[in-house]
Symmetry: C2
Subunit: 336 residues, 2 copies
């Protein structure tokens, strides 16, 4: 049984989703949970929900980071924020991992500085787990932790993403691809061309260049890219779901039959949208930090928080970080 600390003040409607999600995760037997946030508020919330006997503890934090806070400033000025209290519990070995639906930039910066990075890792990478047309999951990384990537950052992302996928999805040999503007080896930009040759030399099931359309067709398990491109891809996907939704609403408002169709279509689209809102799907792991850090979307509900606690627990139990350090030590990366 792993011990996960949940930042209780991250979601847009905090702390309700966090408190309920923690209760659900503990009831499911997935983890022991501590909530980080204002003690009095959290005590009241737990009391209202009959959480007696679940052993949910509270780690008091007097400050809350908002979406408006810049990442570095939040770290510097809010030393007693719920994010930082959660990260400290992980750093000090009092919890195996943390879950936060707070300001992504602030969570990434706080986790990186407080926890430090794993041996062999230069910069952490944020992995989004996306749905695909085969009904499986495709991990895309980096989606924003590291916008100016060099070749060895992409190599490290490939190794980290592959191990994460192997452990969490119980996959033997995940297929890893490098995102490019075409499959042929002469395609790509100067970064991907060098990285492609390097990734071939790693002990991975590396298929070479893949294209944007491979993100959703299920041909790949892990897709590696720089944090700039990954972030743009993710937000483009979110925007596209919006426009398709509104377009379908128009197309399906003409007749009663069509309206029934729209209700069903909307339900399917909402399910899809939740998963494209990356962190809904059990959250997005920040790979490469010394500890477990799962970042959820600000709009997460209790179920999303519950799933993130499960992923954090599996991440710790599956010893993802130990494997990352071990495998990075065994390969020679093109570090400058």
């Amino acid at each position: 049984m792993r011990h996960i600390v949940v930042d209780a003040m991250g979601t847009d409607t905090a702390p309700a989703p966090e408190v309920e999600g923690a209760i659900l995760a503990v009831r499911a037997g997935w983890a022991k949970v501590t909530l980080a946030g204002p003690q009095d508020l959290l005590r009241r919330e737990l009391a209202r929900r009959d959480a007696r006997g679940l052993g949910i503890e509270i780690a008091h934090a007097s400050q809350v980071v908002t979406m408006e806070d810049a990442a570095a400033k939040a770290f510097r000025l809010k030393r007693d924020s719920s994010i930082r209290v959660a990260a400290r519990l992980v750093r000090d070995g009092k919890a195996h991992g943390m879950v936060s639906a707070g300001n992504t930039g602030a969570v990434m910066a706080t986790a990186k500085i407080t926890l430090g990075v794993l041996e062999g890792v230069e910069r952490p990478a944020l992995a989004a787990v996306l749905p695909n047309s085969k009904g499986t999951a495709t991990a895309l990384l980096d989606v924003g932790a590291n916008v100016d990537c060099e070749v060895h950052n992409l190599e490290q992302s490939a190794v980290m993403g592959e191990i994460f996928y192997r452990v969490i999805f119980d996959a033997k040999r995940p297929r890893v691809g490098l995102l490019s503007n075409g499959q042929e080896t002469h395609k790509g930009n100067s970064l991907t061309r060098e990285a492609c040759a390097r990734l071939k030399a790693l002990p991975l099931n590396f298929v070479g260049y893949v294209e944007g359309r491979d993100i959703y067709n299920g041909r790949l398990d892990v897709i590696v890219t720089d944090g700039f491109t990954g972030n743009v891809v993710l937000k483009t996907s979110e925007g596209m779901v919006e426009v398709i939704s509104s377009m379908l609403r128009e197309a399906l408002s003409s007749t009663t039959s069509a309206k029934v169709g729209y209700v069903l279509a909307r339900r399917a689209l909402q399910a899809f949208k939740k998963r494209v809102d990356y962190s809904e799907y059990g959250g997005a792991p920040l790979l490469g930090v010394r500890g477990v850090c799962i970042i959820c979307h600000g709009g997460s509900n209790a179920n999303a928080i519950k799933n993130a606690v499960r992923v954090a627990s599996e991440f710790a139990l599956g010893q993802v970080n130990e494997k990352i350090e071990h495998e990075l030590a065994g390969v020679s990366l093109g570090r400058k």
Copy 2:
């Protein structure tokens, strides 16, 4: 009245869509059209369709570039390809512009080498015209002509894209944005940070950084990015439409009412998909070459070819290239 040459051998089902599209465009009074391709074949195709009196001419080309041909090789080895014959007519002033649905890489390379680039332009940029939720169009460039961009390439793209949008969509002050991983000025990668400052200094209605979701929400008219990111965004969008289609098929096959909804949803999605398949929407202009070059999707039908002829004609009539040279001469770009 402008004279447009259509590469008759580009689409997957060539030359039928090209011949029919040419006939439709001439009947609409949009342009005089010459078809480039094998003379005997095209004569037969025109005769079958009663094109007498339309004045459609044939420029004989004995070779055809396939999707398998590498761009540079196609240019070097197929000197009498329909793409190259079309480009030569434009270069020699015998046509005002060309339309091709052939191998995009080969068309770009052939147009660039045969036509040359405009004064003040270092590299051409391919602009995709995408649908958005406001029902207007957003131009995204570059989507693949120039994968390794420097700051001055992005500046040139911004100027070229803005002029193109102004002329083709009859817009007074198109809103121009620079694609980034966040709207705040501290976001972006090293390329976009420098470019953002430079774009602010240009005489454009520049709104600063925009995000992936702005591609489809209609907030912007022109979005500038490097050819690598632009290509990935475009192909991600195509892939996403596929997966949403298949997901809706499943969701809407349960009841008769739902099936009616699916038929309507599919129709709406197909219309959307055609526009995301960028070049369906009147084709994607290759901006910056000395002449007019509109690139269509390989799956284009006669209507798409017809619309591309219209865009090529408007491009020439609107003197887009003259404006590009004039405006680039008037601004000091951060050229190295």
